[in-house]
Symmetry: D2
Subunit: 483 residues, 4 copies
């Protein structure tokens, strides 16, 4: 089958978005709206759990929020003034539905629901130990490990059991949990994945991005701090910091691609950071040309920044269809070749005879960059220069982002000139890692204690990678990842 979104295929994919509400009538309706605003963080499944003070109610579905959670009957079946939800990538089938979050279990302390953005990098290791002791897992999700650690903890109080569980896990996690003892929102000690807090009337809201607060009309309060637990119960908010303090490392790719441009991440407007990256890129890698053309839609802010800095006009040289489907028929090799045009088409009249600068956010495998460059040439472009608003992606992510294995990453195999040849561009440039930090207001990247997790560009992973390393020991073939 021919995909109608061939360019999207060459993106890193965020694994999840989470949203929680405590203390609002019809909480599940607010969660549905919030998840809709976070849909770009996970498009293949969604779920909402509500708590009415006595019972927990859950609805989970494959597919988008709209179409599954925009129906009155679904929302009415999720009563209560506390609710949380989750959007994620996943595969199809019954097994997959069991992996759709929020996960839920009946513990001795009562119901326990959890929605998780991130990835626990020692989940398999812990799972093996738990199964050996008699725990039965319902899913293949790393998140379920947390629930079993809580269930079997030696502590008596639920919050103690929960902290006991967190201290055993490593990796990236922004969690929203629901229990009869209150809603718990927390973030791993490094704050790798985002989580913000808002207020709507008397209720508290937690969300992966501020745009979800906007959509429900909530006021942004602050980010949940790295290593912080926030507990809300009956309108009262408590904050705990059970971990020893270390310097945070939020994921830098949120500004490059994951977050929506209208979100504010760690106090910085995503849109203006992207424009600043474009301006840095214009300074670092200037080229004489007639038009600046964004690869829609993620390349648009950086292209505007590049155009404003360089004085070269910004023009829509590629038009994107709004009606994308998953896949499309491919009756012949000839038709298959046409697939790329289902989603993007050259604005032929504008491009013909012009020297153009294409601006895109990143290159992963490089296959679709090649197709876009070819599309520009077919439309008559005189020169095609590609500018990329992130450094070369050379390493896999183990913190909840779906990356190809390292051997598939173009930048892990070729230098910049080799990549330019591969995508057939007249020139290719990436922003430097220091340029990227400058766009975020830093002077440069300090190699000791850098301010962000930038492991996908640098290989500098901020946590242990237990499962990955254990796997590497047994499967030498997988040793292409960080030593």
């Amino acid at each position: 089958m021919l995909t109608t979104n061939p360019f999207e295929d060459d993106k890193l994919r965020e694994e999840c978005g989470v949203f929680g509400v405590s203390g609002a009538d019809g909480a599940a309706a607010l969660v549905a709206l919030g998840l809709h605003a976070l849909q770009h963080r996970g498009q293949e499944a969604a779920g909402i759990t509500s708590y009415d003070g006595t019972h927990f109610h859950t609805h989970r579905a494959m597919g988008h929020v709209a179409g599954n959670f925009d129906r009155d009957d679904v929302i009415r079946a999720l009563p209560g003034n506390v609710a949380c939800g989750h959007v994620r990538y996943s595969t199809t089938g019954e097994t997959a539905l069991r992996n759709v979050q929020p996960l839920y279990a009946e513990l001795a302390s009562g119901g326990f629901a959890v929605a998780h953005n991130g990835n626990i990098s020692n989940a398999l290791h812990l799972r093996r130990e738990l199964v050996q002791r008699g725990s039965i897992f319902q899913s293949t999700s790393d998140t379920e490990t947390i629930i079993h650690l809580v269930a079997t903890s030696g502590y008596r109080d639920l919050l103690d059991r929960f902290i006991d569980a967190l201290k055993q896990i490593e990796g990236a996690y922004s969690l929203i949990c629901m229990t009869p003892q209150g809603m718990i929102a927390c973030r791993d000690p490094l704050g790798i994945r985002p989580l913000v807090m808002g207020r709507l009337g008397d209720s508290y809201i937690f969300a992966s991005e501020t745009v979800a607060l906007d959509v429900v009309g909530a006021e942004f309060v602050r980010a949940v701090d790295p290593g912080e637990l926030v507990i809300v119960k009956d309108g009262e908010l408590r904050s705990l910091r059970p971990f020893s303090a270390i310097a945070p490392r939020p994921c830098i790719f949120e500004w490059v691609y994951f977050s929506r441009p209208d979100s504010i991440a760690e106090d910085r407007s995503v849109y203006s950071v992207r424009k600043a990256i474009g301006a840095e890129l214009a300074n670092e890698s200037a080229v004489d040309a007639d038009l600046v053309v964004p690869v829609p839609d993620s390349g648009v802010p950086a292209a505007i920044g590049y155009a404003q800095q360089s004085g070269i006009p910004f023009e829509l040289g590629i038009i994107r269809s709004h009606y994308v489907g998953r896949t499309f028929i491919q009756p012949s090799a000839e038709v298959r070749r046409l697939g790329v045009k289902l989603k993007h088409n050259a604005n032929r009249d504008l491009i013909a005879g012009k020297r153009i600068i294409l601006v895109d956010d990143s290159i992963v495998r490089g296959t679709t960059s090649l197709k876009i460059v070819e599309m520009m040439r077919e439309a008559g472009a005189a020169e095609v220069h590609m500018r990329i608003a992130s450094p070369p992606t050379t390493h896999s992510c183990f913190y909840g982002v779906d990356t190809p294995e390292r051997s598939k990453l173009l930048a892990a195999k070729l230098n910049v000139q080799g990549m330019a040849d591969f995508i057939k561009a007249d020139s290719l440039a990436f922003i430097s890692i220091d340029g990227l930090y400058r766009a975020l207001g830093e002077a440069e990247r300090r190699d000791v204690l850098p301010k962000y997790c930038d492991a996908c560009f640098t290989g500098d992973y901020p946590t242990a990678l237990t499962d990955h390393n254990e796997q590497a020991l047994t499967q030498l073939a997988l040793l292409d990842e960080p030593a």
Copy 2:
């Protein structure tokens, strides 16, 4: 239910797109790709009919092309090297499916399929006469009238019967018909609705817009001329012009909104016409401001034109969600108010404290312009100036465009200042009708024989409106339409 696309609700809606292929293996697959590229012309139903030399095969479905026609089994059930298809607006249910085109009938001359873009303005009149003589209609579509006229014509030869039918109908029609005697593409004498012709290898392609030729890799040949019949049979192409020649009047709204910006309509790039409209608007209605902000996505090209002409920076002040659903839950008045943000959200950090010029393509009822202006103010805009890339829409369309009745059109009730007050903008300006013609390369609109159908702006309808007038005679309440 709260719609997630409240802004789209204030657009005129094109009723149809058509696409036909004669002489290509796997013709139905090409039609599916072509219809996908025309999806913006009709999003609620689609159909394809193929002809394998012996039998006709039809598949019709409510919903988008992707999701219905991207499956191998569907396409394999549409064999043959001749096929045509249709996308349309429509309502739900069994009755509606009967109205989804292509329509098909078994005539004495064999099978007859037709896909129609436009509207026959004396269809009800003709239908009453045909029923009186014993014809039984399967649908409520005006298009079926054509088939019955062919079926009951006194002529012997199919082509003569078809021309006999065309001579009885009035209004707008771009038709693609399939018969054992060949594929017939034709356009009404005024050429109100578009239809272009392309070549792909040895096959001929007909489509509503050139973008559909691009998607299948076909070469654009020329537009089908107003009043022309093109017949393709076994690779041979014939052209007939059975009507006496009159000056054409193609629909000017194709450049304003209907066509995709990457299409070439009547030899003019839609994108560059829209930019030219924006530039004219900057000249006609300049205002001192900090940012030019498009209402996405249809306002973008005119906003770029406005920004380039005025020197005021182009910025994305409104971010559009790509994950729109049909409707959404509305548990409370408060949540209902949030609906507008599901699709568009202010880029708050950018807007705050700025004087902004919003550029949109048109105002129909004005309700959503009001919401956008309010959204800008909530985000802290200092001033909000609205500029519209078309003249005021004062009259209904009877040629295949879904317009509200005249009493619902804001511009039919209020002058420009009244409209500015209604939408709460600091200023409001529309491009002049002459400015619009200038953007299309004319010196001005000549009131005698204007070059385009611009009845929605001027009330100058180029054909008789038999059904409308007969209805008006019996229903005086409907007399608010053209004088």
Copy 3:
């Protein structure tokens, strides 16, 4: 795929059941109940049309009445105090749905709906003439011919047009029509297919069988006479007899198999006729045995009659599953062989070592009779004697019953001893044609003017067979049917 109802496969299949109500609130609900009672006459599709005095409303669906017409929303969408419905055999897909009755058309005289049990034996001939004159058919159903004849009739009054149409058609038809001029129920001049009339309060009911009157609590009034038109309008009933009188010939197979045993057909209890056939069979073809075993369920009444007459005990030697599906997996030849047991299973403990008389209603192809005999032998039966409650089926039906072509009928190829050998029975006997007439209260079958249509047993067709004969002239290969 392996069918779970292999025995049913060797039955003649009634094509339709009809049910109409005039003058009862919630008429559609009564029709749904009535059709449910007639489900055995057609299990693959059903439809109901209602008339609320202004509009006609139709819902049609593939599948059973239960599951499609037992939902409140469906019934509420069929308002009015006049309604009629239809159950039928048919194939799947969109095309098929167009053939599901009631058929409906907008004529110059207003709406016209028709539900038809029977078959018009010159429908193709008439259809060709109508298409030549410009009529466009929506379906491939013979019933639609009637509507086009009404639509194009030269008469002015609707009833005259309807009678004009009837006079042109030949074959078998029990019709229920709905028009703004009233409900019309009629039966062909020979009365081949059944139609009865009942009363429920002030309303009139028409149905294929009396059992449908029982289910809605209506009182049986009388059969509609052969050649009679009954018109009900506003509670008034009129009867017309536009045909010259001829001796009726109702289908004798209604008593053999089609009708439910609890129906009264032409004043004779179906159950008691079947018992009488069994008793005649015991007299005509006695055999010494231990048990009388019915082939469930249609063989049960005749088996009871046989057992009572012969004094041999009636026993359930074959148990039928109530959970039959359409088809079943057949992963291997071995499993395929088991298929027959999914529906019927030998009562092994009872059968072992016994001489048994199997009683079934008819043999069509003989394949399943063979399987049942084999099943009895596998269960240890000492002797297996087969007795059939109808004469040998030697000819096809052209009056609305789905029969295999003549060359597939076992009795058209073999004599009784040959058939006994084929099904591997120790003995085989059919009731004689005179015996069958005796069970119906006649002395014998009179070859001149027999009282029933028994063409499937005798080849004595009571009407012309225009389509069949025209087809035979052009397709000599089809000449295996009656000269």
Copy 4:
């Protein structure tokens, strides 16, 4: 909503049927056939798990076996030569699907699947203990308790862990388990629920009833003994008897109603036991009448036995529709009253003026017996005498049969004359408990060590009822059950 099976509503409902195959290619296909034959034991959900030597595969669905497991794609997705399946009653929705068996878990010893017929009467007690120790339950099924007991057992070997689990549970269980260590079939020490063993070529089959062996062509070997574990691995069969021997108490209701008449339960033909019950009833409660009429279908064998013993003719006075749906519309009180006729209809012509003896298998609430008696009177019966082929049902079942709570049982509230008055019969008689034992070949019921579990008739429960009693202590309102 009006049910179309109002009579079935007054039956006790068997909770489950199980079927397993070890050592046959395409095992899942055989399981599908076997479950189809057991469909009467549970009609609302079904599931199959297969094991291919490496992985376990499960498909579960709401609804019948046919329609869910008769599709090639479903069966192909269940590879392996070991498989087991389950049919059950249950409610709708996602939660319910989690309860559909076979249940499956990944234990430290590998996969573990279980299909269970019966009910564990201390499941809640054990569940509370397990949750306290950190076990997380996926379902609300009592069966899951067994899995957690195995998972957390202190023994090392899987079989020891399994026996350890069995020794902690009380109640009724026939289990088929699948593990990498082999298939385990076992039956509780009292053998309350049935389980038989068969052979098909080299493979072993386990099933709830012999009829399922018949359907797959397997040879009946013997019943699994009460308290026996049978382990099959690689074609080798082992038998363990870990419990101390006690006198078995198989459920007597299997012969009264649950089992199919063509099954052999504990060496006795169900059909001939039912006929014997009918004969005993004719002796115990003779009455002068014209006809013996069974309430179809479960009353038929006893009615035949009654008719043969009494010499009064057996006749089909009630005709049952084969096309039953779940529910039906009820637009008015009048139509609602008709509901009962959707499934059963009086054979009016036969009944009118006759004295009839109705034979049914049991009376639970009595509501539908009343409707049947009324139906007979409406059809003109002169006298209606009801004879019941079981003793009065006075107590609830706690061993896997869905019974109403005791206060809803007619026989718990009224004596026989009161019940006769309630159902408006001219006379009513039940078989005596000794008569029932005589029909099973015993001289009488011995109150010390009776041969069967007959608690529903006698209140003599053969096991402790821990959950029921604990519930009773906390909820005094529930104290209407056994003293």
